[in-house]
Symmetry: none
Subunit: 250 residues, 2 copies
DNA sequence: GAGTGGTCTAGACCACCTC
DNA sequence: AGGTGGTCTAGACCACTCT
């Protein structure tokens, strides 16, 4: 049984979260079953209760377990592993840190070329304008889960050249934020479609399989559309969720 | 200066959260300004650091402050940090007013019966509990576009009896609001699925056609889940969009 | 009554940031 | 160098749940 690596730089509570996450995936704890109590985990891994609670907080935030007051922490449905549609962030930014699954981004193509009509319209540019495109595939645990093409006005795209995002090592959102472009408003449309041939090929699917298609336009504070993408997602691999919350107004 | 009421049953960390929240509202700390450090708050209110951190966690979860590693907690800027998701109003209810299209709701079934496991789990009720269900089809311009089943705790459903919603003449959201139940938080999961037979039948589709499946849990201010639904949508007929906007708050 | 999580204390060491 | 939050320990008391 893997214990806590005391000499590792990784915080204990994260190590424990990984361990429990793996146990859940391995079916050591069934869905709906209670995982060991906080005190039990303290004993098992020789950790203090604060640390264990930090772990449980993290697991709950990932929707992997659900804490029930005075009864324990229960395993949620593991398929509910989700990429949250973070509204303030990009739609599909990697949640690689929180979920223990390996997420790999592969860049297929990027560069400047004439924008397809769909993209030009979304970006409020004249049809026929040229722009920057970035085509990527994201895989989870080696399975291709998502294909996307972003289109940007040429000047926006030029900020990306030389950045790690073009090697799949950085999120587009991070790269654009570094250039001062933050999302102020966004509109996303979601549809279920039969997989188009080329996308089916990339996602390792039969043509015609159901896919989630997400079209997104992001605007900055001045209202300028600076990023449009069309993304096809295998929702059998990735759960797409939208969390909404009313908030207290200061 | 209001301190911590030691004899109050209200947890200290909540009391402190209220105090800081009030200070922010009163403008004691400006937007973007740093609030006192954790150790400073410990001194000011004579609390231990764990308690103060619990407070800050709560405030961050309400998006009132933003914690920056090793720099402090900053009052959130409502312009950039707070977003209104139109999804709070119900994914599927806004369309009627905006588009001039004729929307007809047909109620197939409603009543009290044992909840399916999926619904019981979503509503945080024991498996096997009974609950209220409401199955509906919505058509646009005569074309069936959406099939949904809502499940609610029995006491919530009982508020609906005699209401026009059960004749398809009122939105569920309206009916529940009238009973004082408003959506405070919601989580929705979106997937593309092949149409199940029964749904395909209702939506006038071939079995296996791509459909959008939306699962939704709504919670009130106390965090209680009061409505769960699973909905299948013909996204070729209905556009499903998520709009996010920075709130313009002076 | 035993077990659980909720809350709380009073310390500690560290990496990192700002000065 | 001093301050900050990140992490961690080793306890404690309580209200509630389960049996």
């Amino acid at each position: 049984m893997g214990g806590i690596a005391r000499e590792s730089p990784e915080p204990y509570y994260q190590q424990l979260a990984r361990i429990i996450e793996q146990d859940i995936r391995d079916g050591k704890y069934a869905v709906g079953e209670r995982i060991p109590s906080e005190t039990e985990l303290c004993r098992l891994y020789d950790l203090s209760r604060s640390t264990v609670r930090e772990t449980l907080r993290a697991l709950e935030q990932q929707h992997l377990v659900k804490m029930v007051p005075r009864r324990g922490a229960y395993v949620s449905n593991p398929r509910t592993e989700s990429w949250t549609l973070q509204v303030t962030q990009g739609f599909l930014e990697t949640q690689s840190r929180s979920s223990g699954r390996a997420i790999v981004t592969r860049v297929l193509r990027w560069g400047v070329e004439s924008l397809p009509e769909l993209a030009a319209n979304a970006l409020d540019l004249p049809v026929g304008s040229s722009g920057f495109h970035l085509e990527r595939i994201r895989s989870m645990d080696g399975q291709p889960a998502l294909h996307s093409i972003n289109w940007m006005p040429e000047d926006v795209g030029s900020h990306l050249i030389g950045k790690r995002v073009l090697e799949g090592q950085q999120s587009l959102n991070e790269a654009l934020s570094a250039s001062g472009l933050t999302v102020h408003a966004a509109r996303r449309e979601v549809a279920a479609v039969a997989a188009p041939r080329e996308v089916a090929h990339y996602l390792d699917l039969k043509e015609g399989s159901p896919l989630l298609r997400i079209d997104s336009v992001s605007r900055d504070a001045s209202g300028r559309a600076f990023d449009f993408y069309r993304s096809h997602v295998r929702s059998d691999i990735v759960t797409i969720s939208v969390d909404a919350e009313a908030r207290a107004v200061p």
